[in-house]
């Protein structure tokens, strides 16, 4: 996606080919969501378990007066479970009026990514369809999540 912004000194529209992403780590891999979809990031102090839900649903938490489900990304990606630490973060994102918190091992960065470095994932390695695009930066690789897939198909 390309954002059009006003140049500071004129009324003409210029192309800004970068987007802000919130980057978080799960099992030493960098994942990201567009910052525009992210409502907030919080440390994780435990969730209230909800009986009868999918195994990757940690439960529900109340964040700024809102009750949202927590999806444990490790379990969602089929990785070994790990007890949350002080570093654990929930990234609360919203899409189609659904707000869901994603539990990551850490989350501490907001990165501006040039649009041309965002590429579709190779067909055979899309992590169960959870990865929407792959960002190749000179020094690192970031997997941009398909939020709707991550929180869908229970």
């Amino acid at each position: 996606m390309t954002n059009l912004v006003k140049a500071p000194d004129s009324n003409t529209l210029v192309k800004d080919d970068t987007r802000l992403f919130v980057v978080f780590r799960v099992d030493d891999v960098d994942y990201a969501l567009p910052a525009s979809d992210v409502l907030q990031m919080e440390s994780f102090t435990g969730a209230t378990a909800v009986p009868g839900t999918a195994s990757f649903v940690r439960g529900i938490v109340q964040l700024r007066g809102r009750v949202v489900p927590v999806v444990d990304l490790r379990l969602r990606f089929g990785l070994a479970p790990r007890e949350p630490t002080l570093e654990s973060r929930v990234v609360v994102a919203e899409s189609n009026n659904r707000a869901v918190a994603l539990l990551a091992d850490t989350a501490r960065e907001v990165v501006r990514i040039p649009e041309e470095s965002e590429k579709p994932p190779p067909a055979l390695a899309s992590e169960g369809g959870f990865v929407r695009s792959i960002v190749q930066l000179p020094e690192r690789t970031i997997l941009v999540l398909d939020f709707e897939r991550v929180i869908g198909d229970v």
Partner: protein, 643 residues
């Protein structure tokens, strides 16, 4: 009305309306005549009125609406008496006749809407009858019909009687002190003061009904209930005496009781006890349970190979209709936001005066509505936010001028509705919150964002007052305000700019479901279970439990009740042998017991639906905050069994 008269209904309504309108304008004309040239007869008008009412009576008799027949009959008698008495009528007579026409009008509307037509109110009929022989001198015995009567001495009773004979009304005004009223500066003393401007306080009787304190003020007054409510904010105003004596114009206007006529006279307003609406919602709940059983039955049919397409389509319609009925019932509970906000300017005025500040209040809540329960719970929080703006935000007039602002501050109260949430904004154009001062008080670094600033402000016990003032230390803290908002499932936010002002934004759901619930612990988790479905809590140690081959059974009072471990039923890690059980009665009357580790307590909870597909489940009716900031799951044990 008979079915074969159905076709006359429209004609009847139209004609009766016309006659009644004419009768009312005649009565109003008579009233003017009376005031301008008292003593003049109104023979001509009386005869015209007689003709109109006689026609209405005839029409009503024809379509068989007995209540209107008897009302117009009584009114006719009054008119005949007045006509024979030289065409002289007095104000109470005109008042009673107007009341009569309004009572007839509301019944005509009932006919128009095909509703049952209520019988005429007894006190209106009595008032009309009393007018027939003009002003009898004898006084009937006045009965004091109230529990406070027992607390009145002989001299006080006599005081009431003589007051009533002098045409004053004996009322009971119930003042219930509460934290919110204390926060608004309202106490029994201020209530006493306000009432004494309207009448004579005979006695103040403190009563203590279950879980509270009520001051019943016994008052003699010429004021109407509305005037008293307006002056005190108290709606619990009741007539203390059964008026059996001819006390002119002391009957309550009948339309007020059953149906407030709107100015357009179109549909009217219905006053309903909230309990009745709640009962309807509860019944709807049982309907929803029945529906889930129906859905399971359809599933089984389908598995058995039946063609269920038509059934499925009906079920879909049925689900939609259930939702519609639910929202229709919930709409009955809605009150206009103006009703909530309109009391705030009064609070502002008092606060501004004690603080020597000048504040203008601008209210814009348009036509937004919210649930009565939400409104009641939110009001104290709003009072506190308003207080906060005036105490801390708004500067003294001189300081405002120095800062280049107008002497008079502006406090805005705005409300809008969006996405099933109502948003209320309380904003001032004052000095803004002093971040550094708040941080210093809290012993924390200066917050970077407004959200962090609010977190600091909401630390229990934090006071940011720079100087001691008269209102300090009263009311709620910001932490309580935020808790109130959050328990309603809402959100409190803050925006503040140094020198420009502060805006508090409160977002709460339009409606909430509030129930009494048991909190229980099971399988290491805490749950809430609505009280109404729980028949009994039993100690398993003192009961006879039989380990049957497929289920455990609880033998009690001749009944055998299946006993399940709640933790197991919910597939939770099940660590212990639970010592207690909740016995639940299903809609079909059958009992089931769920064993739990511990019943922790009982409290009122606000149930917030859990709708996200990741966590929605039949056995869960929602989530709640028990007051500790953590989420607790509210179980629907009836649905758990069906599932």
């Amino acid at each position: 009305m008979n079915v074969d008269l159905e076709e006359f209904r429209t004609a009847f309504v139209a004609e009766a309306d016309e006659h009644l309108a004419a009768a009312q304008s005649l009565l109003l004309a008579m009233d003017r005549t009376l005031k301008e040239r008292s003593g003049d007869g109104v023979q001509r008008e009386l005869r015209e009125l007689l003709r109109l009412l006689h026609t209405v009576k005839g029409l009503s008799a024809m379509v068989g609406v007995e209540p209107i027949v008897s009302l117009s009959h009584e009114m006719e008698s009054v008119l005949r008496t007045a006509e024979r008495g030289g065409g002289i009528v007095d104000e109470p007579t005109i008042e009673a006749l107007l009341e009569g026409t309004r009572a007839i009008q509301s019944r005509v509307r009932a006919v128009a809407e095909n509703r049952p037509v209520p019988a005429p109110a007894a006190d209106l009929l009595a008032a009309l009858r009393r007018l027939e022989p003009p002003a009898p001198a004898s006084l009937g015995e006045i009965k004091i019909t109230d529990e406070v009567a027992a607390k009145l001495g002989a001299s006080e009773r006599e005081q009431l009687r003589s007051g009533a004979r002098a045409g004053r009304r004996a009322l009971r005004v119930d003042f219930m002190p509460s934290a919110s009223q204390a926060a608004a500066g309202v106490s029994i003393t201020t209530i006493r003061e306000r009432i004494s401007t309207l009448g004579e306080i005979v006695k103040v009787v403190p009563l203590s009904p279950a879980g509270g304190l009520v001051f019943a003020l016994v008052v003699l007054t010429n004021a109407t209930n509305e005037q008293i409510t307006e002056a005190t904010g108290i709606e619990a105003v009741t007539e203390l005496m059964a008026p059996s004596a001819p006390v002119p114009a002391t009957f309550e206007p009948e339309v007020e009781k059953e149906e407030e006529a709107t100015t357009e006279g179109a549909r009217g307003v219905l006053r309903v006890d909230v309990g009745r609406v709640d009962a309807a919602i509860e019944l709807l709940g049982t309907l929803v349970v029945t529906r889930s059983r129906m859905a399971l039955a359809v599933d089984r049919l389908e598995k058995a190979g039946a063609d269920t397409r038509e059934l499925r389509a009906i079920m879909t319609d049925h689900a939609r209709q259930l939702r519609e009925v639910r929202s229709a019932i919930l709409r009955v509970r809605m009150v206009p936001m103006t009703a909530v906000v309109e009391r705030l300017p009064l609070v502002v005025r008092g606060l501004a005066r004690t603080n020597r500040k000048k504040v203008r209040v601008l209210v814009d809540v348009a036509s937004a509505e919210l649930d009565k329960t939400v409104a009641e719970r939110l009001f104290p929080a709003l009072v506190h936010l308003v207080r906060n703006c005036i105490d801390h935000g708004v500067e003294l007039p001189a300081d405002r001028v120095k800062a280049g602002k107008s002497e008079e501050a502006v406090l805005r109260l705005e409300g809008t509705t969006r996405d099933r949430m109502v948003e209320l904004r309380i904003s001032d154009d004052g000095r803004g919150v002093d971040r550094a001062a708040v941080a210093a008080r809290a012993g924390k670094p200066v917050p970077a964002t407004d959200a962090e600033l609010l977190d600091l402000l909401c630390r229990p016990g934090l006071s940011t007052r720079a100087e001691a003032d008269t209102t300090s230390g009263r009311g709620l803290g910001m932490d309580i305000v935020r808790k109130v908002v959050q328990r309603l499932g809402g959100e409190l936010t803050l925006e503040t700019t140094a020198g420009q002002g502060t805006t508090f934004r409160v977002r709460v759901p339009l409606t909430v479901a509030i129930v009494d619930a048991f909190t229980v612990r099971s399988g290491g988790e805490r749950f809430a279970v609505p009280v109404p479905i729980v028949e009994e809590i039993v100690e398993l140690a003192s009961e006879r439990v039989v380990n049957g081959p497929s289920a455990r059974l609880l033998a009690r009072r001749g009944e055998t009740v299946p006993l399940f471990n709640l933790a197991q039923a919910l597939s939770l890690p099940n660590r212990s042998e639970p010592p207690q059980a909740l016995v639940v009665r299903g809609s079909g009357g059958e009992l089931v017991a769920y064993a739990v580790d511990r019943v922790l307590g009982q409290q009122e909870i606000v149930v917030r639906p859990l709708t996200d597909t990741l966590v929605a489940s039949g056995a869960i009716s929602g989530s709640t905050d028990l007051g500790d900031g953590r989420v607790t799951v509210v179980l629907d044990l009836l649905a758990l069994r069906a599932a």
